[in-house]
Symmetry: D2
Subunit: 483 residues, 4 copies
């Protein structure tokens, strides 16, 4: 699954949101600027909207909009943000059909106890049931976002709770599914990870100030020290008395999303004690063992296949080589004047490195195949550049099932692995051979991780209840606030 | 009260919102384009945000943002709006401190019965009480806008109502103050004017399609025929069976805002059966009778003093002349590089017409004085251009009291009439004489109107309960979503 | 000729450029900001491009672009301009087909003696001959602007001249036609008006610093004192020794453009000793004498007919009244989604004031008729609003001939007066009667002016040689640099 | 020399322009869209301005502006460009101090024979002499760009030439230095490479239509077939009779810029018969032989050190590993709110991959060192991530001399290699060892190329006359047209 797909034809699954929060102890820290940097470090988790909310003496001021971090924030609008005690940030992926400004986060609301800001990553599986309940009580919704629902649940629970913490604990009892949440009440920063631990969430420290964010790479971005992952079911509360931790809910089984290791997370992050880069490299090693081949060079599809390609090379002894040069100046803004544009765009974006592949038997590694068009194009680029054989290796098992826990995967009909066998796919994409990592192989790529895994999108075995079918489509009608 | 004040120093009261709605019967009408035109015709009622919401088969798509009509709508974003059966529009005035993107309208929400869009003009006087009630039940708020509160009230009432109409009627029982509302449910367009009739709202027809909007000038903008004003307390329902009217609530006394006649409304509008232009002209006539003077010419401050100046001229026999040329290219975007910019800006914006005023005794008519700086500047411009006498006449009584019904007036401390007598003001602004229209005179400028008046901002006598003091400031803390 | 024509259908002649220059003596003056204000005051002379060039120690830094003053200049780009000793400004009108970024002014060039900046208003009648000559010597052109040609002529003459003044004098010998020029050499500000005096150019003083600009209203904009008009054929040189004047070329007859008085100039300007407002008012008075009529009210088409309407009212005794309300928020950016947009736009832009015109016999004054569609529309708006008679009066003679001296007039075929008699035009526009000001009447509207007049566009009698026909179209092929 | 330097502190030499031209034979080709794609493929050669000029029936229409390809071109402005027979494109690098809109290319001019468009890459060494000559004849200049000078020379030569080809040949006699030029006359596309062959220029074919451009990677971008390099001193003329070639000028010695192989060109280009990628890989191999070291892993600084790192790994047997993860979302637009921003930006942009480097002896390869700050930062990042040794290897010799042939290199004082020995630099950047490629080694990296080399910036030995010192600074005073 290489990133240019998203630009070109949305042929792939999409990653989800990134969250950030800081509780400032050191006066000298400019938390708005720090949040901006952290969001750059999380940008790979969502490019549809970005936002920063500052808690200044209990009230929030927020800059957020559709667009990338570089587009949403300007010197002008950031200069209007004070340097608050608590600052939240968010980047968001949104499927196109749902590109709704009102869903941008952090969400800032007012309720009976004052103001509240929320940054969320995940997917609430009993969303529909809860929303029905709330609407039956007169609630109104301005978006279909999980964050708004969660805000409501907390507001409702707060009525009969003696503290925001108690309201959050009660809310956690109600909501199910995947959530890595950061909240700011007037005086507290609260972080919460669902009991399954579907999505990453980690704790760091910058001088004496605590930072919570989706991935450790964002800590590196701001020069913060990584302390540890937030545990599944753990609630952290940071206030002027320091840091307090509590496990508020447990699940039978922890189940971190394997697709985070395979594709979503950044390779320089360490999640659950495992380096994402090394997990991918290991996937490449196992992939060779499962699908050995004789060849002259091993290449990765940039950028998502590069790590696994190095593992494949190491295990096989076949030299690693650069197979493609990627044009770093091509963004998704290209629309082009004519119908043949899309085809040409692929050429403009990726160029096979003829000097390396000409006359060679090439192993090409990618992280996944969704519809197959991109892989087909990759194979063609290699053959056009003179490769005599092209062996495609995929560092994850075939995608066959929807994800209900925060990864946006195409409908099952669109997934090529639901319509074809591996042999048929191999013929379709025009490769000489094709090998996928096995489910068993996948289970080993991060076998030293501190928690269990979810491989539901590959295996169909979900680690938590999935939404009841009858409710699935009720909120497919969207409220759209166009930019 | 001339409009350049807003650009320069916000030295004046501010007008409030404009609303628009159309229920399309004729297929050939392009309602999005029509809404855009109507909003241009309402732009004088609010320049801080603009929006259009289209009801397409029961769901809404909305384009709205901070900015003027010309800035918010582009061919690109409008082209994404389908040609729905019902289309609402809104322009909004917002005091600067409250410039919150989340308050842009039309507000589109989802509740138990589907979607609902709201365009509102007015001010709910028991806002705080209702919000407290709702929050006590777990409600969350994303803005401090009246529209969001009204949406909540309707959603809450809808639970125990058999129809949206019934819910609206029950909601009208709860909310107090000024409201001219246009709603769209999935199948109906509903218009509602508060029982006092504080703000204007009128009905028109374009071919066979009904249109509801704040002022008749917006009907002219789109070539629609004016039918009648919506009556105080009247609810109109327009659906595929046609138009239905019902008086749902009455007040002891109707009380249309006199300041609409004096300043807010456009002179080509006809409200409550009275031409705004003629009302202003009549104010000028009475003004002469109350404060006669010998002079060579009568001029109006452009644009708001021009109508009254013609009446003054007619009553007095003193020739009407153009006193100022206004630079139509100056907008509020000018910020300038240096401190002396504001002074120069006034020169750039208005230029006294020396050819007319030199050596003359000049009567200069404006609609109001707030802080006095603008009037002072006007007098100086005339003297610099050679006027030998300058007699200032104001076509309304002195501003002394806050408005709780939808006109934004400066705090009482800032109102010069609360600090000085007319004589002192005359000396402060440097005029040879100064005369205000009397309260009695004001009462006659639209004495053939179909409903009663509110002159609370001048007299301090309010026609409806005003907010209880203890609640006033609770929501002064703002949620701000910066652009 | 009312300004909304330009927005809608370019149905009218177009005004030409505005020029500005200041030589700073007083250190405290912020000349960039002053130039910006002055350009706002000249914006009516051209809205296609705007620019400011600063002479800082002999080198120029320039901000210019397509667009209005408010769009071209930002705090950001102006902040990059130093506060130079000499600052030039320019606003430009460009016929659409020629919308070429490379033609924006001030033009800054380098030649053998260093740098030179030029702001120009006018039209060189022997442009083609001179350009042919220059190209035969190897010259290259990056635009078809007069300013570039003039720069070349000066550069060429400078080779054999001992000073920039001498080069300018020699250049004036070569170029013919209309030019009001402001130049900056490294150390001098030079202003030059052609010997006919076709276009305005005047001198003012701000504290001790001299200012030169197209119209006196721009002096008012910046608080400068008007000193006098630059004389036809006069060259002013301003440097650190002060102001030097010299008549460098004379014509048999001076011939100021009458259309400046009728339409182009701003009413608060005084040109050649005559108030533009009073000239227009006088045109209205004479118009009544030439075409008397019985009626109830006299109205002007905003904004260009308002001054003459007051004269017509005064001469006739028929009361002056406001006939139309103009929507000040409509700009040319409106493009609309559908074909019927243009029609609707007219309604949105101007609204007849029914309260004044209903049941009345209305005299409506405009400054000119080009194609007739706008007048037709104006008459229809009045009749729709209930006028029982509509008498159109035009405060200038029929347009029949092209202008070669800087006013852009439609091709002769498009001019309705070349295809129809006044009676036919009256029927075409649907008026009850129609009267044009006579040529003789026109000659009296500014009969106390200090110089002679050109009425070539009305009479066909030109006061100076016009371009030879064979050359006219050679440069109609345009170099276009699209924004 | 890694690209993020340019974003952050301009600490490195800058690449120069990219040129493109197509002569359309196949009607179905959309040449504007093709040019846009090609410019994306050349974007690495210049990001300061971009432009496309279309020759439509002998006249040109041009879209160009400051900014990247993605910012300059929009659907809106490209849609105004017709699908001409000849289309030129250009991307430009400009040192900041010279960021002048008037220098954007393609330059379109009119001269005695009609119109001419020019796209240029290179540097004319006798610029000052020629400009003096031209100015002495009355020429004016609107920029300091080479392209404007070349246009003048051609226009001047054209007077006494019977064809544009003859004028170009004569012009080539006058101009000296580096130039890869593409011209369009009304009917012909002309490409010209200087007799030294300093800069790349190649010929391709798309269907039956010829294409000329800087690098072969741009041919790949548009799906065109590479035919051959334009030879040093060769002039290609393409018109409706086909392709004509002529060697119009020869030099004693051909001298292609070695820095193109080291850094400027894209690795997937093939220039003078040599793959850029393989040349860099070979540099890495030789580098190991010249500066062997014992280590655990070899890493490259992304992106410019990656190719050489693979060669180093191959020659040494030390495993290649990913040392840094680059944040692809960071652009130069980041300015930050505070002084400490620059430091943090570096962290945000590059993150050392701790999983690979921790506890390792690391060889890190970069292509060059300019001021040394970036290398210092790279070493620090590796040490912070736990590297126990850091050995820096540079795949080119030390930079010590200016380039007069089109590469922008910092002044000699800023070059660290002019102030320190290699040992001192090693200590300054904090590495355990440092090794540069030798001049001799450099000469071998592309030893199978078809032409000779220039290594003047490393050796000080220039292959062609350099500008005479006295003229160097004359045009350092810039005409600046700010955006």
């Amino acid at each position: 699954m290489n990133s240019f797909d998203f630009d070109v034809n949305s042929d792939k699954a999409h990653e989800e949101c990134g969250v950030f929060g800081i509780y400032r102890v050191n006066d000298e820290l400019d938390c708005v600027s720090i949040a901006q940097d952290a969001l750059y470090g999380l940008q790979h988790r969502g490019q549809e909207s970005a936002g920063i909310a500052v808690n200044k003496d209990g009230e929030f001021i927020c800059v957020k909009d559709l667009g990338k971090v570089s587009a949403v924030f300007s010197d002008k609008n950031l200069s209007k943000l004070p340097n608050g005690k608590i600052v939240l940030g968010h980047v968001r992926y949104t499927p196109f059909a749902n590109l709704d400004r009102a869903s941008s986060q952090p969400l800032v609301i007012r309720y009976i106890k004052g103001s509240l800001a929320i940054s969320h990553n995940g997917s609430i599986t009993n969303y529909t049931q809860i929303r029905n309940e709330l609407e039956s009580g007169g609630a109104i919704f301005q978006s279909n976002s999980n964050a708004e629902l969660i805000a409501y649940v907390i507001a409702t629970q707060r009525i009969n709770s003696s503290s925001i913490e108690e309201a959050v604990i009660k809310s956690a009892e109600k909501i199910e599914g995947a959530y890595s949440l950061i909240l700011s009440s007037p005086n507290k920063l609260i972080a919460l990870r669902d009991p399954h631990g579907f999505r990453p969430l980690c704790l760091g420290k910058l001088l004496d100030s605590y930072v919570v964010t989706s991935e450790s790479c964002a800590l590196d971005s701001i020069g913060a020290k990584f302390l540890r992952d937030i545990k599944p079911g753990e609630m952290l509360v940071i206030d002027d008395k320091g840091l307090h931790s509590q496990i508020i809910k447990t699940a039978e089984k922890t189940s971190f999303c394997m697709f985070e290791y395979v594709y979503i997370a950044r390779p320089d992050s360490v999640i659950n004690g495992v380096s994402v880069h090394l997990a991918r490299k290991k996937a490449g090693e196992i992939l060779y063992k499962e699908h050995p081949v004789e060849a002259d060079i091993v290449c990765g599809v940039p950028d998502s296949g590069l790590d696994a390609a190095q593992g494949f090379s190491k295990a096989s002894g076949i030299p690693y080589a650069i197979g493609f040069v990627k044009n770093k100046y091509i963004g998704r803004q290209i629309s082009g004047r004519h119908q043949d544009k899309k085809e040409r765009l692929l050429k403009t974006k990726l160029n096979a490195l003829k000097a390396n592949v000409e006359g060679k038997r090439v192993v090409i590694i990618d992280d996944s195949i969704i519809r197959g068009n991109t892989s087909k194009h990759i194979v063609k680029l290699l053959r056009d550049a003179g490769a005599v054989q092209v062996h495609m290796r995929i560092s994850s098992p075939p995608f066959r099932h929807p994800c209900y826990f925060g990864t946006d995967i195409k409908s099952q009909d669109e997934l090529i692995a639901n319509r074809m066998t591996a042999d048929e796919i191999c013929r379709y994409i025009g490769a000489d051979s094709l090998g996928y990592l096995s489910l068993d192989g996948l289970s080993k790529i991060a076998d030293n991780a501190e928690i269990g895994f979810c491989d539901g999108c590959f295996s169909g075995n979900y680690c938590a209840p999935i939404p009841q079918e009858e409710f699935v489509d009720k909120y497919s009608q969207k409220l759209i606030n166009i930019e």
